[in-house]
């Protein structure tokens, strides 16, 4: 091969590359998943969002994804690989991908990055997006407070980050409103996805007399553990997390919080196609259709179901905020005065329990 042919090959490759940036080629969208698509929860829902993008844009987009990417150094490698393969927009769909996303973004200023549930936007080509899961937690907390007979509600917590703490506080506040004696049992498992550990955590809580389990982890294992307890004469209820988990209807799963990412994904891909993509810190909830309550089954008394649906309607209309005062912090100091509503900055960095939750948040 002469130097001339090498040169022309390089030129040809360069031209092909610029054709891609010109929009003649489909826009390539990458997704980085922390769990397997088959988890039936968190990652499954992100993948549903990816499929919705494909459906919406057809041949105008090409999507790629990588499952089971550990948070940490591996994530950086995977994201870099996607950027090198010509992705125009990359969604990194777990909290722990924050540093890796920003590190790669610094090296690929022309690629747009979207980091789920994060807060780090160190470069103009990094956006963050999140959903107000605490709105859904308010509804499930309300149902849980009504259903419990032992007055013990369990919460399988993943990592001590603001999103999880919001969930614990929101569930507890709304359970306590309908049941002043309720106690919240929090078990930290330090994983997003480990069916064995999630099932063990659920069993440990059931052994301790917990009869309603809320989970902040991604697999359906706690649902199976509850079902098994019920088959042996127990009375345990659960809620679908991230995905509907409809296989466990009507009990133990009595309702669910569904993450609906499709509207946001379609909007952002459209922005890249139009060339109007800009950095944002998006935080949608029920009004945007991003947090959806799945079917409330007949195991829930009709009036409780009606109250829960009413709460959904009021949150969707913007009439009710789940963190509306008076609310005190765990140590008894006032946080929100009567009628005062929590601001997003405090919520996004929430690192304290509200009054009535026992135990301590690990560091």
């Amino acid at each position: 091969m002469t130097s001339k042919t090498i040169l022309s090959t390089v030129l040809a490759l360069g031209l092909a590359g610029s054709a891609l940036a010109d929009g003649h080629e489909p826009v390539k969208v990458g997704f980085v998943y922390v769990g397997p698509i088959g988890d039936g929860g968190w990652t499954y829902q992100h993948d549903q969002g990816r499929l919705a993008v494909e459906e919406e844009f057809g041949d105008a987009v090409e999507t790629v994804y990588q499952e089971l990417v550990p948070e940490g150094a591996d994530a950086e490698r995977v994201i870099t690989q996607m950027a090198l393969q010509g992705a125009d927009l990359i969604f990194t769909t777990s909290f722990g991908y924050g540093p890796a996303t920003n590190a790669v973004a610094a090296r690929f200023p022309d690629v747009k990055f979207e980091h789920a549930t994060g807060f780090m936007r160190e470069h103009p080509n990094v956006s963050t997006y999140d959903a107000r899961f605490y709105e859904g937690r308010a509804v499930t907390g309300h149902i849980a407070g009504n259903l419990t007979e032992t007055n013990k509600i369990g919460y399988i917590a993943s990592f001590p980050i603001p999103e999880v703490i919001q969930g614990i506080n929101s569930s507890f506040l709304h359970a306590q409103k309908v049941n002043p004696d309720v106690e919240m049992v929090v078990t930290w498992v330090y994983t997003w996805f480990d069916p064995s550990k999630e099932a063990d955590a659920a069993r440990a809580m059931i052994d301790q007399g917990v009869d309603v389990i809320l989970q902040h982890t991604d697999s359906t294992a706690p649902q199976s553990a509850a079902e098994e307890a019920n088959a042996n004469g127990g009375r345990v209820f659960t809620f679908g997390q991230a995905s509907d988990m409809a296989e466990f209807k009507p009990t133990p799963r009595v309702a669910s919080i569904i993450d609906e990412w499709s509207p946001y994904y379609i909007e952002r891909v459209q922005a890249v196609i139009d060339g109007t993509w800009e950095q944002t810190a998006h935080w949608g909830g029920m009004p945007e259709g991003e947090v959806v309550i799945g079917e409330i089954t007949d195991a829930v008394p009709a009036e409780v179901k009606a109250e829960a649906e009413d709460m959904v309607a009021r949150i969707t209309e913007g009439e009710y905020h789940p963190f509306t005062g008076p609310i005190n912090r765990q140590d008894g100091t006032p946080w929100l005065a009567e009628g005062e509503v929590a601001d997003d900055a405090t919520l996004a960095t929430m690192d304290f329990y509200v009054e009535g939750v026992t135990g301590q948040i690990p560091n």
């Binding site: 769990g35 397997p36 698509i37 088959g38 988890d39 039936g40 499952e67 089971l68 369990g154 049992v185 929090v186 078990t187 930290w188 498992v189 330090y190 994983t191 996805f193 480990d194 069916p195 064995s196 550990k197 099932a199 063990d200 955590a201 069993r203 440990a204 809580m205 052994d207 301790q208 007399g209 917990v210 697999s219 359906t220 294992a221 199976s224 553990a225 079902e227 098994e228 088959a231 988990m245 296989e247 466990f248 026992t358 135990g359 301590q360 690990p362 560091n363």
Partner: protein, 307 residues
């Protein structure tokens, strides 16, 4: 610490430890024969998915366990043919086996997510189950738990009290000498690898049929790697592998129970405790023995009868 029932805790511990124990016992035999198979995680998850599918299809948990044993052994024999027949690198082949197993399980498991398996009844041990405390703690399990404990005893007798076990160990200690004495080194290693795969498959199926019980993609979540570590810390002895597996499983369950019971302990420490305590205890019990003589001398070394 009110409210933790020790009997329930021991019962939960035994169930939680069984998958790791089975996989670790299998790998221990493989390593005693001088072969390092890092594919335990892959064999476990293939066992988990094939066991679940078979159990669901047949409506019988035992059909699932049988299928898982066959699937685990079949996967292991791929490794066996590559490393023993074609003398490929054991570490690389084992890692590839794990990746292959995870992918294969994911593929096979599509469409099986969220279904309910047949479950496995508890053994009827008659009056033993009615004993105070002990009855609830140790005599109300399913048969697989007792089989795994029986396997500890059988393997101990096999490895250290039988001629066949001596031959297996000699293959692992010095394959060239064993070969010179006329023992079929490759055949013995292949048999050990197959046994290891069968145990890993059974352990995986115990996860998907009894412990969780459902199929979820990626559900082993590192249990195979824990099993590998326990073989090393258990100094390649069945009794200590049992101690290691039960310690690890036990403390994993205990720390969750402590949290659920509202113990005022640092949760970060509790979460790390299964790893810390297991390593610490096994290092301590291994200290009493003379140093350096624990690992099979030919572990991981390829054998090719060329000379």
């Amino acid at each position: 610490m009110n409210g933790i029932d020790p009997a329930l805790l021991i019962a939960a511990l035994m169930v939680a430890s069984t998958p790791i124990l089975l996989a670790a016992l299998g790998e221990m035999v493989v390593e005693r024969a001088g072969v390092l198979n890092l594919g335990v995680e892959g064999m476990m998850i293939v066992g988990a998915v094939s066991g679940f599918i078979a159990a669901y299809g047949a409506g019988n948990a035992w059909a699932g366990f049988g299928a898982a044993i066959l699937a685990g052994a079949a996967l292991a024999l791929i490794f066996g043919v590559l490393t023993q027949g074609l003398v490929s690198n054991q570490v690389a082949t084992g890692l590839a086996l794990t990746l292959f197993g995870l992918g294969l399980a994911s593929l096979l498991g599509q469409g099986w997510v969220g279904l309910k398996g047949p479950g496995l009844g508890r053994m009827d041990l008659g009056p033993l189950a009615d004993l105070p405390f002990l009855g609830r703690a140790v005599f109300r399990h399913d048969l697989v738990v007792y089989l795994s404990l029986g396997l500890v005893i059988v393997l101990n007798l096999f490895l250290f009290r039988s001629r066949a076990g001596l031959v297996l160990r000699s293959v692992g200690e010095n394959a060239a000498s064993a070969h010179a004495l006329g023992y079929p080194v490759r055949a013995i290693r292949l048999a050990a690898i197959g046994f290891g795969g069968a145990c890993a498959g059974l352990g995986g199926a115990y996860l998907s049929i009894v412990r969780v019980p459902q199929w979820s993609d990626g559900m082993t979540a590192g249990a195979g790697w824990i099993a590998l570590a326990i073989v090393v810390f258990g100094a390649w002895r069945p009794g200590r592998v049992l101690v290691g597996a039960y310690l690890f499983g036990g403390i994993s369950v205990l720390q969750l129970n402590l949290q659920a019971a509202g113990a005022e302990l640092p949760i970060e420490l509790l979460s790390a405790s299964p790893y810390l305590v297991t390593i610490l205890v096994l290092v301590l019990i291994s200290r009493r023995r003379h140093r350096g003589g624990e690992a099979p001398a030919d572990l991981g070394r390829p054998f090719h009868a060329s000379a």
